[in-house]
């Protein structure tokens, strides 16, 4: 009786999940494979003829290969800001866990503030303009670092607590200075949490729309999310191209998901158990 009930519940959930969660993605894929006329009907049907490749080529050629530029920009943005987040975040997490002091408490407070306070947009633009960072890719990289630091530091600090202090002491007795201690002893041991940080922050920064919209306006240096936003009005009659674009920017997260599912879940549930 109980096994039958579970069986029944499992099948019911699978059927419901197909309708709720898979149909939208199938809709994206099918629309991306249709020709322009058929896609404008917005129907959930198999395309009468497949145009995946044509649509792909057309999307890539739109506006002088803008999507290629955007892809390069998004990649640079993601890689650079995640690299800085990992190194700087780990340095902070390490000191905050190892050396309790008044500065550590202040840093802890600032970390929490960073999680709660919504960024003040226009004053940030004003500051960036005065530093020559507004509308530049490196400016946006620094913004992503500033906004991502809080979460990164929290993850690193919790993980440093699991590394025994005896290791530090052994390295110090052997004559390691703080830089060697951190980069040669501690940082390699932080690898599991670093992978989590890399994966979670990459997805977040790659998918970020709001910050590029504010801090990187202009059509020369767009990111992928912005191209999609711009194409939304440009392709208002060519749904096939619009959805091909959506399909393209869904692929990187899909790849990350297939390979790093466990690390993503670990990062996102950190703190859920102990509160």
């Amino acid at each position: 009786m109980k096994a039958a009930y579970r069986h029944w519940l499992g099948w019911l959930s699978i059927v419901v999940s197909v309708f709720v969660f898979l149909v939208p993605f199938a809709f994206i894929f099918l629309t991306a494979a249709k020709d322009r006329k058929e896609s404008s009907l917005r129907e959930f049907t198999l395309p009468s003829s497949w145009h995946l490749w044509d649509n792909l080529v057309q999307v890539i050629q739109t506006r002088d290969f803008m999507i290629i530029t955007a892809f390069v920009n998004s990649t640079i943005l993601t890689v650079a800001s995640v690299a800085m987040l990992v190194v700087f975040g780990a340095m902070c997490g390490f000191i905050m866990q190892r050396r309790p002091s008044i500065w550590t408490s202040i840093a802890g407070f600032l970390v929490l503030a960073g999680l709660i306070i919504p960024p003040a947009v226009v004053p940030t633009i004003w500051v960036m303009q005065s530093m020559g960072l507004f509308k530049t890719l490196h400016g946006l990289i620094l913004i992503e670092v500033a906004y991502g630091l809080s979460f990164t530091i929290l993850l690193f600090r919790a993980f440093v607590a699991t590394i025994p202090r005896e290791l530090d002491e052994a390295a110090i007795i052997d004559g390691a200075g703080p830089i060697r201690l951190f980069f040669q002893v501690i940082l390699p041991l932080l690898k599991p949490v670093a992978v989590t940080v890399i994966v979670v922050q990459s997805v977040a920064i790659f998918n970020d729309f709001t910050n590029p919209l504010y801090y990187l306006p202009g059509s020369q240096n767009v990111t992928l999310q912005l191209t999609l936003y711009n194409f939304q009005s440009q392709f208002s009659t060519s749904y096939n191209l619009l959805f091909m674009n959506i399909l393209l920017i869904t692929i990187p997260p899909l790849i990350v998901f297939l390979f790093f599912n466990r690390q993503i879940v670990a990062g996102m549930t950190a703190g859920a158990v102990k509160g």
Binding site: R6, H7, G10, S13, I14, S17, V20, L22, F27, I28, T31, L41, E43, F44, F88, M91, C92, I95, R98, R99, W103, L110, L115, I116, P118, A120, V121, V122, P123, T124, I125, W126, V127, I143, V145, A146, Y147, L149, I153, D168, G177, P178, N207, F209, T210, L224, L228, Q232, I246, T250, P253, V256, N261, I264, V265, T269, A272, V273, K274, G275
Partner: protein, 305 residues
């Protein structure tokens, strides 16, 4: 502020190291790179916003006008609408995420078939571009040609204009937000439920408890840290939400689905920088007065138990 302090400490620690070979192995200057970026691009603008929200501002000159911007925020009907919508959106999305996330968490930690598949499909939307999801659902929610209403029509139901009905637009966007975000709530609940010691369930089995009693008596109270995390995370996210609303309705029809974050963007685009910054301060205060007491209260009740 923090940057200055650490710079001072750098000087001290460098001198100390010059004197004796054995300086601190945990130098404060390790904070420095992060503190500079964080201080310059996050803390400083945040403090500056408190001043600029009191001005009429062109980015080049700021004219002090006192609380006029805030007065305007609570006077203009469409700005008040934005405030109310922000609250509705945040509470609807976080409420639904708690309930659905909890149910899915229980379901996906039980022994059902297709569990791995179900976990994957529920979680995957969390990782997909919000703009992409927004555009997809905008097309599917089209009042006459959209997939959702065409499906309803098959059953003889006349679906509403999800995004064109002023009373419904905000809730439709909130629904898509839940669709995209419930996977995160689910995995947080799954982590919380898995960490409950099995002894409790074994003991209740011996006492002859029903699954329903198990849920209310064991799972719900002991998964409390997960509930706290989901509530806090989705409230912060919901109050600050911008990209999905912008991708789906741009605050329309009219101003009926505007939230504070979209008002901030609209005022920024229109060049009302002072008013936009005041919106930021309002949002900050709103997040602070809702989230901070709530998280203190939720965490204290946890200790009492």
């Amino acid at each position: 502020m923090a940057a200055d302090a650490t710079t001072a400490e750098v000087g001290v620690s460098v001198r100390a190291r010059a004197r004796r070979r054995s300086g601190s192995s945990y130098p404060s200057w390790f904070f420095l790179p992060a503190a500079i970026i964080y201080g310059a691009l996050f803390m400083y603008p945040t403090f500056a916003s408190l001043f600029f929200s009191l001005t009429r501002w062109t980015l080049f000159e700021a004219q002090f006008i006192g609380l006029e911007n805030f007065a305007q925020f609570f006077r203009e009907p469409f700005l008040i609408k934005g405030l109310i919508n922000t609250l509705i959106y945040a509470f609807v999305t976080s409420g639904l995420k708690v309930v659905l996330g909890m149910l899915l968490g229980v379901l996906l930690t039980s022994q059902i078939i297709g569990r791995g598949y179900l976990r994957s499909v529920v979680f995957f939307p969390v990782l997909v571009s919000t703009i992409g999801i927004g555009i997809t659902f905008t097309v599917m929610m089209h009042p006459t040609q959209g997939l959702i209403n065409e499906t309803l029509a098959l059953f003889g139901i006349k679906g509403p204009g999800w995004l064109t009905d002023p009373n419904l637009a905000l809730l439709s966007v909130a629904f898509v937000d839940v669709w995209k975000g419930v996977g995160l709530a689910t995995v947080i609940y799954m982590a919380g439920i898995v960490s409950i010691p099995q002894e409790y369930f074994e003991a209740s089995k011996i006492d002859g408890a029903t699954p329903w009693q198990n849920f209310w008596g064991i799972t719900l109270p002991l998964a409390r840290p997960a509930t706290v995390t989901v509530v806090i995370l989705s409230l912060i996210g919901g109050l600050r939400s911008f990209d999905l609303i912008w991708a789906m309705t741009r605050g329309g029809p009219g101003f009926t689905s505007d939230v504070i974050a979209s008002v901030i963007y609209k005022q920024y685009q229109a060049g009302f920088y002072g008013l936009s910054t005041a919106g930021n301060v309002v949002l900050f205060v709103m997040v602070a007065i809702i989230v901070v007491p709530l998280s203190v209260w939720l965490n204290r009740r946890e200790v009492e138990q």
